[in-house]
């Protein structure tokens, strides 16, 4: 199947076919406005992965701890997240490709316990399907596993790497520190891409980034309604969208569509769960990306909805003040430290981790929480004991299970379904009954 008029890697064709198939089914469906917006955005990401092979323009790789505003300010430079392939394969493509990337990375010596998204990213590099980078820009968030992948990717590609050091805490001093490093990254990017950084262009990008954030914040608000107006799986797709499209028109439009759908459905009193929701759960940690139908099952079988999860929650600290160059750099620094999902919750002190959970439970009126323990996410697992204590304190039951968000070989969707079903029947529903 040709993409942008040419035959491509089978990997990309699988993704493209997946998206086209979905759009064929859902594009005329008025109830799938948000989902369609995502599919269209992912089509753009597929095109982004193709274009560098056609136009030979410079490419910058970056890791999922950052959004691409700075890179986008260099005209004609392609921004490619290291995690693009595994994310797309799992969400809309063919999971077996992701498993192949993971296996390649492990066979090449990347240890098993590294996060599967990072192993798969390195596997995609090893397979030679990533457009070659002029340079790599990285941030040391959210986790050490990301740094393992970043350095392995730099080593395998031979591309120069610039790291923006994200400190432990969050305050004015930390923001200044990161802003200064972002500024220092500009000559690095200019040197290796051969393109000029434009402050005017950067300002426009920041404005669009704000536009996207405004829509995401509004969207988050609409999803607080009871019943939750919009299906669960939409929230867990926000991360790849933000990482790839913050600062672009695609980002603004997709976020606006998500918000509009949630608002309209809410105004019409429509519920995501067919027949009405019985249980509201906050999903903390990583989504089941390898099987998105899992969320449909949860809604139809258990009458359970996820109004918000860790990936969909958009933090209010993300608005960029565009009044000066410095304020824009600071705005971006705020984003890198305190907005990117996972970094926001897990990178700093345990309070960040616990406070967001409590806030989500309270604001989204959760009956229970689900700690979907992605096996490799050490700093999430490492806070679990204190999270459990917090759950007891606020009186909200928590289910903990172990799985891998990219790799169904670790825990199958069926096994997760069993665990959730038991939790719902034995713990959550009896508690809801008692409260009545």
């Amino acid at each position: 199947m040709a993409i942008l008029g040419k035959e491509r890697f089978e990997d990309l064709e699988a993704i493209h076919e997946g998206i086209t198939g979905m759009l064929d089914i859902y594009k005329e469906d008025p109830a799938s406005r948000g989902l369609n917006a995502y599919f269209k955005a992912f089509t753009k990401l597929v095109e982004n992965l193709c274009r560098p092979f056609d136009d030979k323009q410079p490419v910058v790789w970056y890791n999922l701890g950052m959004s691409p505003e700075l890179i986008l300010a260099l005209e004609g430079v392609h921004n490619i997240p290291l995690e693009a392939y595994p994310a797309l394969q799992d969400i809309v493509g063919e999971v077996n490709f992701t498993l192949d990337y993971i296996d390649r990375a492990e066979a090449h010596g990347l240890p098993h316990e590294v996060c599967s998204v990072d192993k798969a990213g390195v596997g995609a590099v090893l397979k030679g399907i990533m457009p070659k980078p002029s340079c790599i820009l990285g941030v040391n968030t959210p986790c050490d596993s990301q740094m393992a992948a970043l350095q392995a990717s730099a080593e395998l590609s031979g591309a120069p790497l610039y790291l923006i050091d994200i400190p432990y805490l969050y305050g004015e001093r930390e923001v200044e520190y990161v802003a200064r490093q972002i500024r220092d990254a500009i000559p690095f990017l200019e040197k290796h891409t051969g393109r000029k950084f434009s402050w005017e262009r950067f300002r426009e990008i920041c404005l669009r980034a704000n536009g996207m954030s405004e829509n995401l914040l509004a969207w988050n608000e609409y999803r607080k309604a009871v019943p939750c107006p919009q299906i669960s799986k939409l929230i867990c797709l926000m991360v790849p969208l933000f990482i790839t499209f913050a600062g672009t028109e695609t980002g603004v439009v997709t976020a606006a569509e998500l918000a509009a759908e949630a608002r309209e459905r809410s105004e019409r009193g429509e519920a995501a769960v067919p027949g009405g929701e019985k249980i509201r759960a906050v999903w903390y940690q990583d989504p089941v990306w390898f099987d998105l139908q899992f969320y449909d099952w949860m809604e139809s079988e258990l009458k359970m909805v996820i109004p918000m999860d860790l990936f969909g929650y958009h933090a209010p600290e993300g608005m960029i003040d565009v009044s000066s160059r410095e304020s824009m750099l600071r705005g971006l620094a705020h984003r890198f430290i305190r907005v990117m999902p996972m970094s926001r919750q897990f990178k700093g002190p345990i309070e960040w981790y616990l406070n967001d959970y409590v806030t989500l439970c309270r604001e989204y009126k959760a009956d229970c929480g689900i700690f979907a323990g992605h096996v490799a996410c050490k700093h999430a697992w490492g806070g679990l004991g204190l999270l459990k204590e917090k759950c007891r304190e606020i009186g909200i039951p928590l289910l903990v299970f172990e799985f891998d968000m990219f790799d169904p070989r670790v825990t199958s969707a069926e096994s997760i379904q069993d665990q959730i079903t038991q939790f719902v029947n034995n713990v959550v529903l009896p508690r809801i009954e008692l409260k009545k």
Binding site: G109, P111, S145, L150, Q151, P167, L169, I350
Partner: protein, 377 residues
């Protein structure tokens, strides 16, 4: 003067559990001890005000379940065991704890220190993940914060004179350890890798005034003693956390001789000296940020490769055993990158995962055997 054997016995006792006779004496005399994680925390700061810097480990912990209940079983066992000791009160002799963002595991461990162990003093430093002049100012600011907190808590002023004498003391210990290391270059070194690591680890748990005479005697004893028996192969052990000489013994029992150890608690902890001229505080900070880089320092792979290959060359090693704590991501990326760099350089390398407190695994023995055979040894 104590004999080599006597000193090794002392060192062996010192590293066998959290408390040792020197720390005990130190405490009895009313002096304070601060525990710290990681080689980026400047020991001289504490020494300068008469507080003992004590490097936290997990030795003596038989079971990490009390920590696992909080940290889960998916964290590095070094961190879990050290927290098990802390949570069960076995590190109560520490008057404070200083930690840093070494890795995701140590970070989570600090949450427990703060919220569950609650030592009298605790401080966390955000050390940059790059070794670069562009971030030196940040490191200096972070360390200024630590210095002030330490001064306030312990009620003592850090002075340039105090820092200078602390530098002299710590440098002296480092120089002695480097001289011990140098002896391992010979055809038949007078000490095994197991013994060398025992000395290096103990050095981070004994007050310098007690340590220096011990190291002097140890060195003198080594110079007098003859070489060990010929080995099947000379090896450099590399990688992350390593404070268990039993792990090295396990390798050496297969006939390999570990001639250098490019690991935490080992060569990396004493390789770089603090310059003794200039502003002492600035010199200390520069030395700590720019010492032989740990794998947490992104972009320093060339330096780490150069350091490791120079050890292989200078110590005439036949190959490298790269050890990594299971679940450790910092050293996971490194093991991949170093594996390929060494393969390209034609240096035989074996990558081994291990767990803390499980030093004598049959699997390690089998793999080391196979590795030695693959080198034709």
């Amino acid at each position: 003067m104590k004999s080599k054997q006597e000193i090794l016995e002392i060192f062996g006792q010192v590293i066998s559990g959290p408390m040792n006779r020197y720390v005990s004496e130190w405490k009895k005399s009313g002096k304070k001890v601060v525990g710290y994680y990681c080689s980026y925390i400047p020991e001289e700061l504490f020494t300068s005000i008469g507080v003992l810097p004590y490097r936290i480990r997990g030795a003596g912990s038989k079971d990490s379940s009390v920590a696992d209940a909080y940290l889960s079983a998916r964290l590095c066992t070094f961190v879990r065991h050290s927290l098990a000791l802390a949570l069960s009160g076995e590190l109560n002799f520490l008057d404070g704890v200083v930690s840093m963002n070494s890795c995701d595991h140590i970070r989570r461990g600090f949450d427990l220190w703060k919220h569950k162990v609650k030592p009298g003093f605790s401080y966390f430093i955000s050390v940059p993940r790059v070794q670069d002049d562009r971030v030196l100012f940040w490191f200096e600011e972070e360390m200024e914060g630590l210095k002030k907190a330490v001064e306030d808590h312990f009620g003592k002023k850090v002075t340039p004179e105090g820092l200078k004498s602390a530098i002299t003391l710590h440098n002296r210990a480092r120089i002695l350890l480097k001289e011990v290391l140098d002896l391992r270059k010979s055809d038949s070194p007078p000490l095994s890798g197991t013994e060398a690591l025992t000395a290096a680890v103990a050095s981070q748990l004994i007050p310098e005034p007690d340590l220096i005479p011990l190291l002097e005697d140890f060195l003198a004893g080594l110079k007098k003693s003859g070489g060990g028996k010929p080995a099947r192969a000379r090896l450099v052990v590399a990688g992350g956390e390593l404070d268990e000489p039993q792990f090295i013994r396990n390798i050496e029992e297969q006939g390999g001789l570990v001639v250098a150890d490019d690991a935490c608690f080992a060569v990396r902890s004493f390789w770089d000296l603090v310059p003794e001229n200039g502003d002492p505080w600035k010199s200390i900070l520069r030395r700590y940020l720019f010492h032989v880089p740990c794998a947490r320092m992104v972009g320093a792979l060339d330096d780490r490769t150069a350091f490791l290959t120079s050890l292989v060359k200078d110590f005439r090693a036949d190959g490298i055993i790269f050890q990594r704590m299971k679940f450790c991501d910092i050293w996971a990326g490194e093991s991949h990158n170093i594996l390929w760099r060494m393969k390209k350089a034609g240096i035989p390398i074996l990558v081994l995962d291990r767990e803390y407190q499980v030093p004598a695994s049959g699997q390690v023995q089998t793999r080391v055997q196979a590795f030695l055979e693959s080198m034709g040894k």
